[in-house]
């Protein structure tokens, strides 16, 4: 296995090559029409903004030539510098000087691009997935976990690697959202358990309402539970009138819509709990507690104890509030809301 010993010894491949003995790379002219523009086996770029690079190249020209390899059929494979070439293409250049690394093996080309990128920029999650997947076809999994993941700022954790490896097969809108950080990796992990249609239906809500990570996770959890229980597709669920109303409601802003969406799903997922919460609030409201006094229920009513809070300025105010509380006849009727339902 090429590269194994270099990672294992903690020395990167390119730096371990004897520069003195290595045949120098040659600069060649590459016609842009010869370039294979599909993201090739070395590509680790996704979700990038070309404009800064275009502006730079337009102003001072191409500072660092890309690395390319000529393939058998005359096509040119991009090894490193995919973005630079894309920028040049969009600037309508016809040809460009590139370093020819056709002599390098596939893993050497991959290493070249990996280290070239590693030292100059941060990878987004999708790009990390691309790096790991490409390396995984050359290196054993344990080596990637132990030696490559730390280079990418990740802990050596195999389940995390599995999440990144699964990224490749995901739909482009999901990948774009992840690259743009509208989706967190935790959310993505939850989405991986769903089918493509469900993922895309959930993504629409996530991006349309700009849900934060906790909201994203809640949305996914509620949706999967409801769909499983009701044997319903997510698209069908979200096609219901109540959900469409939230989307189309002109009066609510995005945070308000996010709240409405999660409340709607929660009420559907936990009908008894929601009913108990409402009954409890109604009962407390009927008590007409003195100002500054509140009664709260424990989370999910699981703990048997309720909580009374009294805000007061001084002992006299406290005494008055306690007296008022003692005078409340209905206070003795307080109890689990479902008991009197």
């Amino acid at each position: 296995m090429e590269g194994r010993s270099q990672y294992s010894s903690g020395v990167a491949f390119l730096s371990s090559m004897d520069d003195q003995k290595r045949k120098p790379y040659g600069l060649i002219w590459v016609e842009l029409s010869e370039v294979d523009w599909t993201p090739g086996p070395c590509c680790m770029s996704f979700g990038f903004d070309l404009n800064p690079l275009k502006r730079s190249i337009a102003k001072v020209g191409l500072i660092n030539p890309p690395f390319v390899a000529r393939e058998d059929k005359g096509r040119v494979q991009v090894v490193a510098g995919y973005r630079r070439l894309m920028a040049i293409k969009s600037l309508c250049w016809n040809k460009v000087h590139c370093w020819d690394v056709s002599d390098l093996s596939p893993i050497e080309r991959l290493h070249l691009n990996f280290y070239d990128n590693l030292t100059t920029r941060d990878f987004n999650h999708v790009e990390i997935g691309m790096v790991l997947r490409r390396l995984a076809s050359h290196l054993p999994k344990e080596e990637i976990v132990e030696n490559v993941m730390p280079l990418l700022g990740l802990g050596s954790h195999e389940p995390t690697l599995d999440v990144y490896l699964a990224l490749d097969g995901l739909e482009n809108p999901i990948k774009s959202a992840l690259a743009a950080q509208s989706l967190s990796l935790r959310t993505l992990k939850a989405l991986l358990d769903t089918d493509p249609d469900t993922r895309l239906a959930l993504l629409q809500w996530i991006t349309n309402l700009n849900l934060n990570m906790n909201q994203q996770l809640q949305l996914i959890d509620y949706t999967i539970d409801i769909c499983e229980k009701e044997k319903k597709r997510a698209e069908a669920l979200f096609g219901e009138e109540a959900f469409l109303f939230i989307l189309e409601d002109q009066r609510a802003n995005r945070p308000q819509k996010a709240k409405q969406l999660l409340e709607l799903l929660r009420a559907r997922r936990y009908p008894l709990l929601i009913r108990a919460e409402k009954l409890f609030l109604r009962k407390v409201a009927c008590l007409r507690l003195p100002k500054g006094v509140s009664i709260k229920h424990p989370p999910y009513f699981e703990d048997p104890h309720y909580r009374l809070e009294i805000a007061f300025r001084n002992g006299r105010a406290l005494t008055e509030k306690l007296k008022a509380l003692f005078g409340l006849e209905d206070l003795q009727k307080m109890g689990d809301p479902w008991s009197e339902d």
Binding site: E142, E158, D193, I224, D225, E228, K229, R269, Y270, P271, L272, L273, A276, P299, Y300, F301, E302, D303, P304, D336, W338
Partner: protein, 361 residues
């Protein structure tokens, strides 16, 4: 024996134990693949429990441990005799699925060597009653025809007046019990459910009738019986479903020789949800209204639990009023609201169950 064991892995140190050779001999030596690494770093396929492999292990840890119980709820003060882990059955709700990073059926072949130390521990506390079970991390009888746990343990417990052994199972593997000489201080107990849950969620387990026929045979042979409706699971027509099981019990067993019967609504560690969905996509065990309990585990919303326990109590006590009914891992207020009394704390429930032991043995 229907084990479907495709390979035996003998971990380092296990080869020297007689039980290892006995097990290999029983399975058929041609299936043995020799020694396995003591720490297998090869990850199994996604969430595969590798139930086709049997690992024979020289277990270095404690064999007898108190049940850890759970924070905020009343426990029964049980002791676990750790004879192995995992189980050839594949119940969708099983907690053991959370340990898929330690796959395979695992049998601790040095149990017999450790029994004298366990005996010493029990014998120096004669004033205390030890309720001991092997069914926490595995089914007590599923592998019994192969491993011979009953052979090893029955005489050991019959000789001790301050301990009882409970063998919890969903199987009908009772041949070892029926051929045993010693039956004193042994409780054979069955995990039961509604026919719907049994058929849909308890994959690989014998049906309820088979379990109860086995219970009937054990009772006729003089064994004390226990039953565990744990997990109780809400499903359409659950009341009728559980009633059908009670009717079957009524046909098969004499309630007077039931030492105890526990009820426990389905609860699970949050991590288990994803695993259950992955391993059992058709399951309905996650459909109920689960909330985070005081111990962080997911449980049915309290009024649901109270209703289920209350229903079961009513029907069970109509059948026989002195079944030693208790709740597993429940709070004081749920006890009060559903059973009408509460042991208040773990010590109280321990006393209740110890008293049942004294009465039965």
């Amino acid at each position: 024996m229907d084990f479907s064991i495709s390979r035996v892995l003998v971990e380092q140190g296990a080869e020297k134990h007689a039980l290892t050779q006995e097990i290999i001999g029983k399975i058929n030596e041609s299936h043995s693949e020799g020694k396995a690494e003591s720490r297998d770093r090869q990850a199994p396929p996604v969430m595969d429990m590798d139930k086709g492999s049997l690992r024979l292990i020289d277990f270095p840890g404690e064999f007898l441990k108190p049940c850890p119980g759970t924070k905020g709820y009343i426990c029964c003060g049980y002791q676990i005799l750790h004879v192995g882990t995992n189980c050839p059955l594949d119940c969708s709700y099983c907690i053991l699925q959370a340990y898929f990073n330690q796959p395979s059926l695992r049998v601790f072949v040095n149990l017999e060597e450790k029994l004298s130390a366990i005996g010493g521990f029990l014998d120096c506390q004669t004033e205390k009653i030890f309720r001991i079970g092997t069914g926490e991390f595995t089914d007590s009888l599923a592998l019994d025809p192969l491993v011979g746990w009953s052979d090893m343990l029955l005489s050991f417990f019959a000789a001790r007046k301050n301990a009882v052994l409970e063998l919890k199972t969903k199987t009908d593997h009772i041949a070892g019990l029926l051929s045993a000489k010693n039956r004193d201080r042994i409780i054979v107990s069955w995990s039961l459910n509604s026919p719907h849950i049994s058929a849909r969620e308890e994959h690989g387990a014998p049906g309820l009738r088979k379990r109860l026929v086995a219970a009937k045979q054990c009772q006729e042979e003089g064994y004390a019986l226990g039953f565990h409706f744990d997990p109780l699971i809400q499903h359409p027509d659950w009341k009728e479903g559980y009633m059908r099981t009670l009717e079957l019990m009524d046909q098969m067993v004499d309630p007077k020789r039931i030492i105890w019967l526990s009820l426990g609504c389905f609860r699970y560690m949050p991590i288990l949800k994803r695993i259950i969905r992955k391993r059992h996509p058709d399951t309905s065990v996650l459909d109920g209204e689960f909330i985070a309990g005081l111990d962080g585990k997911m449980r049915y919303f309290k009024p649901i639990r109270v209703e289920m326990y209350g229903f079961m109590k009513e029907k069970l006590e109509q059948w026989y009023p002195d079944l030693g009914l208790y709740l597993c891992m429940e709070s004081d207020d749920v006890w009060q609201k559903s059973l009408g009394w509460s042991p208040t704390e773990t010590a109280g429930l321990s006393d209740f169950l110890d008293e049942r032991v004294s009465r039965f043995f």
